[in-house]
């Protein structure tokens, strides 16, 4: 609590015992940590995971752990508990966290993640999520052979670190100056002389991030719904955001899809997760799927209108919240099966897209992680063995596979089929098949069995790990155009996807499909913008001027955590929607202002987006203006909040994702010195002695005042 400014003049005037420095007492004791990404508490129907501090915050003696020996020292011989270790990322492993936790000597953990602390991912790999991601919510939840990844362990490196419940806080420090200050404070006060007892005062840290929600989502929602006073208190919110979907050609209810099976769906997930809240720049390999799909959408969007009209309906879907038990896809399937996707038909609205159901889907192509195919010997086309027992499904799956095969032949990528008994990896397609085994689909990925990505769903799934090293000496605009190794290989993947989709949609020969190529510059730009710096020319061109301004303050890439639903879609979903509109839509040259470029009220098929455009420098007076423009495309958002939160029965059904995020009110951390217990006791004892002596002395002085003061002056 800082001393309010209005009190300061009083304080410093009134006492003669003012100190010379014009500082509040708070500033003499505390130094605030300026930025942190906390580990927050999440809950599902049965558990709580994540971290919380005590109500009054957790305090611990700072210990900088730069080497494994420092951690071992803490666990084995540290005496002044509780401690608050500051770890370099390399040491933040399952074993160390569990060891420290079991030692009972720590009150929290800080992880240094500044721009100078090299993350140095462990060679052995690091994945803090489960070995079997999204277990129980895919299509095999009670299949005798495939349930719980019995058949294939997809993420063998998964330690489950992120899915544990911690009763202490953990924070990622993202500001290098904070980290430097902490290390300096550690060196000044806490330099341990091996095992000898350290002299006080010691440098300590307090983290305060009490989580309001507790136990599980069901309890938390029930508590939030109790209206015991006029100010209802909400303890947690369901996770969710918006899916982005768009079609190459508008779907119109005047020509319904029926069950003719003429719809092709191409999907990818956009979200990822890290233990630490909303840290951007993670999940690089995870992002390759949707980046490749966006580039493929661009390649197909360039086709001329006549050709597009002759093709089958092609729908691109970008799912949100898939990390948390398939939030986005489960909701889309739920809406589809109820005849509410994209929206209930309404006679009062003349222009509405036709209803889409799972039964309309002829081919489903999902792009999973595809960044590491060169290491794993090519792309792999996964399909589901259960649904392929039906010959119609099998034929369609084979049709997709042969289209991919043709496309890979022309791009020099090898494509493989995992053994036919192998189940589908975790994918949105599983949610479609869970409801409707008649959906023929393939999941395209860079792994045959276990993930090629050794850093799955961790903050170490960094661009550098997928061959996106950009020379450090490049200027931002050069880095933006720089072709990385990943850029080259992902362009090939995007081309394969585009050609596959073209072939499936148009029934044309592979040689005709070969005219379609994904743009390598688009891939470079997308990779740069999504994984390095969101404040980049491509985003600046396709976003509204307001959103562009918001990006300016962002130092790195956009966070891709699904978070809780707000009125507007997450930044990342908004960017994907605008890019999809930009790639699939048409320019409307007559609409030149944001007010003109509004989606008409009768039109529920298209959306109109006014984009900021590229900067144009006026050479005469050196001012910059923007070549803004209006785009129209049939691109829409759809709700990505789990159906579990629609009714109480569904919340208890185990059918849908039940993840919620706890709310919290205070989030701060500060550095300060602590004195020893002995010193504190001495102060208290001195105080007690002073007051007792005063009381006794005054008692006697008062009763014997006639003895003490006997010679008043005569004049008085």
């Amino acid at each position: 609590m800082a001393v309010p400014r209005s009190v300061l003049p009083l304080l410093f005037l009134c006492f003669p015992l003012c100190w010379a420095q014009f500082r509040s007492v708070h500033d003499m004791i505390y130094v605030n940590i300026t930025a942190q990404a906390p580990c927050v508490r999440l809950m599902n129907a049965t558990h709580q995971i994540g971290c919380t501090s005590a109500v009054s915050g957790n305090v611990g003696v700072l210990h900088y752990c730069a080497e494994q020996s420092d951690v071992d020292w803490l666990i084995q011989s540290a005496k002044n508990k509780p401690y608050m270790p500051l770890m370099v990322p390399r040491l933040f492993t399952y074993e160390n966290v569990q060891g420290l936790r079991a030692s009972g000597k720590i009150s929290g953990i800080l992880v240094a993640y500044g721009n100078r602390s090299d993350p140095q991912p462990p060679q052995a790999g690091f994945s803090p999520v489960h070995k079997c991601p999204n277990d129980g919510y895919g299509m095999y939840s009670d299949h005798p052979e495939y349930a719980h990844c019995k058949n294939t362990t997809w993420n063998p490196l998964g330690s489950g670190l992120s899915y544990l419940d911690y009763d202490f806080p953990m924070s990622l420090l993202v500001n290098q100056s904070d980290i430097d200050y902490l290390i300096d404070c550690h060196n000044r006060f806490n330099k341990y002389d091996n095992d000898s007892n350290q002299a006080y005062p010691l440098c300590a840290v307090q983290i305060k991030d009490r989580m309001d929600g507790a136990k599980d989502s069901i309890t938390c929602i029930r508590r939030s719904n109790l209206n015991i006073n006029l100010n209802p208190f909400v303890y947690c919110d369901a996770l969710g955001d918006k899916n982005v979907w768009g079609t190459l050609r508008p779907l119109n209810k005047s020509t319904p899809l029926n069950d003719s099976k003429e719809l092709i769906v191409a999907s990818a997930k956009i979200d990822t997760w890290s233990l630490f809240h909303n840290v951007g720049g993670v999940g690089a390999n995870d992002a390759t799927g949707f980046i490749a799909l966006l580039a493929a959408a661009e390649a197909l969007g360039k086709l001329d209108q006549v050709e597009k009209n002759a093709m089958k309906d092609l729908m691109f879907v970008f799912f949100q919240g898939e990390t948390f038990d398939y939030i986005g896809s489960s909701r889309m399937v739920y809406d589809m099966r109820r005849g509410e996707f994209p929206a209930k038909l309404n006679d009062k609205v003349p222009w509405q897209p036709s209803l889409v159901n799972t039964t309309n889907i002829q081919y489903f192509l999902e792009v999973s992680q595809v960044g590491l195919w060169e290491q794993s010997g090519g792309l792999w086309a996964h399909s589901d063995p259960v649904s392929q027992k039906t010959s119609a499904v099998r034929d369609n799956v084979n049709a997709i596979f042969s289209a991919i095969e043709n496309a890979t032949d022309s791009t020099n990528i090898s494509i493989g089929k995992p053994p036919s008994f192998q189940a589908l990896p975790p994918a949105s397609l599983q949610r479609f098949l869970r409801e409707d085994l008649g959906v023929p689909g393939i999941v395209l990925s860079d792994h045959m069995a276990a993930y090629s990505n050794n850093y799955f769903m961790s903050r170490l799934d960094l661009p550098a790990e997928i061959g996106m090293d950009i020379p450090a000496n490049l200027k931002p605009d050069e880095a933006y155009d720089y072709t990385t190794k990943q850029g080259e290989s992902l362009t090939k993947v995007a081309t394969v996807i585009a050609r596959t989709l073209y072939q499936l949609a148009s029934n044309k020969s592979p040689s005709e499909a070969a005219k379609i190529t994904a743009s390598s510059s688009t891939i470079n730009h997308l990779l740069y913008c999504f994984l390095q710096h969101a404040n980049c020319p491509l985003f600046a061109e396709v976003l509204s001027s307001k959103s562009v301004a918001a990006l300016k303050s962002l130092p790195g890439p956009l966070p891709r955590y699904v978070s809780v639903p707000q009125n507007a879609a997450n930044q990342i979903s908004q960017v994907v929607a605008n890019l999809l509109t930009f790639y699939l839509g048409e320019r409307l040259p007559n609409l030149n202002t944001p007010t003109e470029c509004k989606t008409p009220r009768y039109d529920h098929i298209n959306s109109y987006i006014f984009m900021n455009g590229r900067p144009v420098v006026n050479t005469t007076d050196n001012t910059t203006s923007y070549a803004s423009f209006c785009m129209r495309a049939s691109v829409q958002f759809s709700t990505a909040v789990s159906p579990a939160f629609l009714s109480n029965e569904m919340l208890h059904s185990n059918e849908y994702s039940t993840w919620t995020e706890s709310r919290w009110t205070v989030l701060n951390a500060k550095i300060f010195l602590v004195s020893s217990e002995a010193e504190q006791t001495i102060t208290l004892s001195v105080g007690v002695v002073v007051i007792l002596v005063s009381l006794v002395l005054m008692y006697f002085v008062n009763t014997k005042s006639d003895v003490l003061f006997t010679a008043p002056e005569a004049e008085y």
Binding site: P16, W19, V25, G687, I691, M698
Partner: protein, 244 residues
Amino acid sequence: MTVKEFFGCTFIAYGPAFALFIFTIAREPLRIIILIAGCFFWLLSLLFSSVLWNIVWPLKDQLAFGVVFSVLFQEIFRFFIYKLLRKADEGLQTFSDEPPTASDKHTIAYVAGLGFGLMSGAFSLVNVLAMATGPGTVGINGDTPYFFLTSALMTSCFILLHTFWNVIFFWGCDKRNFPAVGFVVGFHMLISCLTLIRPLQPATIIPAYCILLVTMAIAYKLVGGSVNNLMAFLTCKRAGYASN
């Protein structure tokens, strides 16, 4: 800093004043009125100091300016309360059952001084104590780790100093003994400026307590004490023998 240290410092700073209050003031309503008057006048001096500090904005960051004028205002208001209490003397006596004695004037001076000191003590330490309950202790920016302890000791010292200064000041005014008045103002200024030079270090505490001892001795002498009386008190002689 923890709850332990909070209580430790509170006891150190306010313990002696609390003992004085309990045994000499609490039971007499008249004295409580005078005590509150003392508090009030100290607050008035604070108000005027603050107004001046706000008006003279270019010197806002100059701590010495604030300290010097604050001391002057405190002494001016000490004079005002002297004037007021002497004017109210007869009126106040009507509240008292006992006939006025010679030592009553000293009592009034002492009680008003304690009020003066208590209020200054409250303002100098309360904000420090408010910070003291948190987990941290002073020192991360190189400040002395004994900050809380020295603050408490200085506060205690100042409460007692104000009490004794008031006795000397009132006596000086009554007797038109200007060296006595000058002594009070001078030493108040001296010790305040001392804290400016070496803020709250053990080095300031020792001279401050030396000044306190000197001031206490002078005040004791003025109100009728002597070495003999002190010896008599220490050897537990009864009042009758000493005065006879």
